[in-house]
Subunit: 365 residues, 2 copies
């Protein structure tokens, strides 16, 4: 498996996801500015991966700090975290990870030290250790999500074999964007059940929405599934209704950037479309979410900030200009799917169902 994020001992190594699928290139990130840029430009993307990347970014930002005073160090760490938090607004994991880093800084000083400058050194070590812990935790969390998700998928009725069809030899699920290994440290969230099924030799097939404008579905999901040997069929986003109407998929599973306390789900633009289509065709619509993506501080999805990105992603996103000059564009990067369209939210701690106010709170304890 590709290593989305790894620590070289002196820098963070990232798969450069802007180069996929034709080139498997890596970039080395040595300071917080490079990390901010990597998150902003989607070199690293996917809510869980962004969280881990931001934690390393905080370490990189303060590692050369040689303050004599804790107050100076705190101010520096705060400034680095605020800066990193400004890279992308929607995924809560970014803020969750930076809060966790700041909490580690606060807790470490409770252990005491001979002097403030020694304490600063100690905190800096602990921040790196915490980022490395988060890296390992993410792998374990995703594997757990995979297990819970596979239980759900295994309960679905397999399609009747259709003569001459290539799509009905097992369960087939539709996914949108990329919530796979490349959106996390390993396994992914939405794709974790798929990888576990594949490991267990359960036949499974994925329809991948290409996911305009940046094509994370065709560029990244199709790429990582192919690498893993999972059969995948790429479609344009607007073909999902046809695929569902033809009985070619039995479920939809997606990731998320932030879940509100009531179960409203922010995810890559187009997720809402797919959720409505799944409801129309009576297919289950599952959201795979580590608890770090669940933001109990927000009552509903209406409070989730939605990033709007440059219109060039639509007009010139794919190698050449495909829209005329002097027209308007609208390019929200995410949408919010209301909880009532969500069949279940799969976390590392178990599966939440409606009413989500209660079930999410219980799983986040």
């Amino acid at each position: 498996m590709l290593e989305t994020i790894s620590w070289t001992g002196h820098s963070v190594r990232l798969v450069d996801q802007t180069k996929l699928p034709l080139e498997t290139a890596y970039v080395e990130i040595a300071d917080e500015r490079q990390m901010w840029d990597a998150i902003k430009r989607l070199v690293v993307r996917g809510a869980p991966a962004i969280g881990v990347a931001a934690a390393f970014g905080a370490h990189l930002g303060v590692r050369h700090d040689d303050s004599d005073s804790l107050a100076d160090f705190d101010a520096h760490l705060e400034q680095v975290c605020t800066y990193l938090a400004s890279s992308r607004p929607t995924a809560v994991n970014l803020f969750w990870a930076l809060d966790r880093i700041k909490r580690v800084s606060q807790e470490t000083r409770k252990q005491g030290s001979r002097s403030e400058d020694l304490m600063v050194q100690k905190i800096k070590q602990r921040l790196l250790a915490e980022a490395l812990t988060m890296l390992e935790e993410d792998r374990a969390v995703c594997k757990k999500i995979g297990e819970h998700g596979l239980s759900l998928l295994s309960g679905l009725r397999r399609p009747e074999p259709v003569e001459g069809s290539t799509h009905n030899s097992g369960l087939s699920v539709l996914t949108h964007c990329n919530a796979g290994a490349l959106a996390t440290v390993a396994y992914g969230t939405a794709l974790a059940p798929i990888y576990l099924a594949h490991e267990q030799q359960i036949p499974i097939h994925v329809f991948a929405d290409e996911t305009r404008p940046l094509l994370q579905g065709s560029r990244i999901t199709a790429y990582e599934l192919r690498e893993a040997g999972v059969p995948v069929t790429v479609i344009c986003d607007n073909m999902a209704a046809t695929v569902m109407s033809q009985g070619k998929v039995q479920a939809v599973i997606v990731g998320t950037d932030r879940v509100a306390a009531n179960g409203d789900v922010a995810n890559k633009i187009g997720t809402l479309n797919v959720a409505i289509l799944a409801r129309h065709y009576n297919l289950p619509f599952y959201v795979a979410a580590p608890t770090s993506s669940i933001d109990l501080s927000l009552g509903t999805g209406a409070q989730i900030p939605i990033e709007e990105r440059d219109s060039g992603e639509i007009s010139n996103g794919l190698g050449r200009q495909t829209a005329p000059d002097h027209v308007q564009f609208y390019n929200p990067a995410f949408d919010v799917t209301p909880a009532d369209l969500v069949t279940a939210i799969i976390t590392e701690n178990g599966v939440a169902k409606a009413p989500y106010e209660q079930s999410l709170k219980a799983l986040c304890r």
Copy 2:
């Protein structure tokens, strides 16, 4: 206005729609093989335009025929029409136009002539005249559709003005693919009511789905609306649900390639998605269809042949390869929207509503 199709006196001049929006190029079509290729490659596209183009194609195919016998000429015309009919399978206008051409050939001979070779000359003249008539008729039909469509749109409640919003200064409709002037001889079908509103200085705004894989929405719809001065906002197909959920559009209007007797509508892939979303958000979903697109010989949409196109349109459609090698693709060019999702079908003869078996038959008389 651009002239989608025109007759130069010795050839057919087409806007080369594969070059839009950056280049306004024309191609001259001098024989039936060039016309077949132009239809196949989508140099000319849109059901009504394809019909007119095919009629001229038939003329070009037989214009140098100097048969002495009507039987030889008939065989030649039949062969040319069969060949042209093989260019694309879904739009019924292609077959409708070629049937009309063959009917003219049959009817002309009833007038009698001194000899068979003179009769062949006479038929050839009549075929050109018929193609020119169809060119003019299409313009008139589209204008009529525009009038009926504008009556429907005018009955919709205008949105409340929202402070700071640029999208609420009048009615706003969403369209998919291109059913505009460039899909017809002039005015278009779905866009005809928009152009008439604009002519009458009724404020109107269009959200154009870009329409993957070939981007007829961003390349062609946005282009022709901008040329006409109609405000247009391009979105990716997967943003339609968000636009609807935010109250930014009051209706959906699309064209069609073929309507079955029961009101099922074949149109560009993605139309079904939009129809389901419109139903979810309680928005009217209108289909603009000249009666030449209505195929009463087919009971339901299940009988409409759906063209499947090359997977390269998805993987390499936009200037560079955007999906990995060795994965599968599914690329249906059209989908079928069931009649129960269609609010009304707007023809040149009036507006059909459910039950469509009766209303369509009445309008096609």
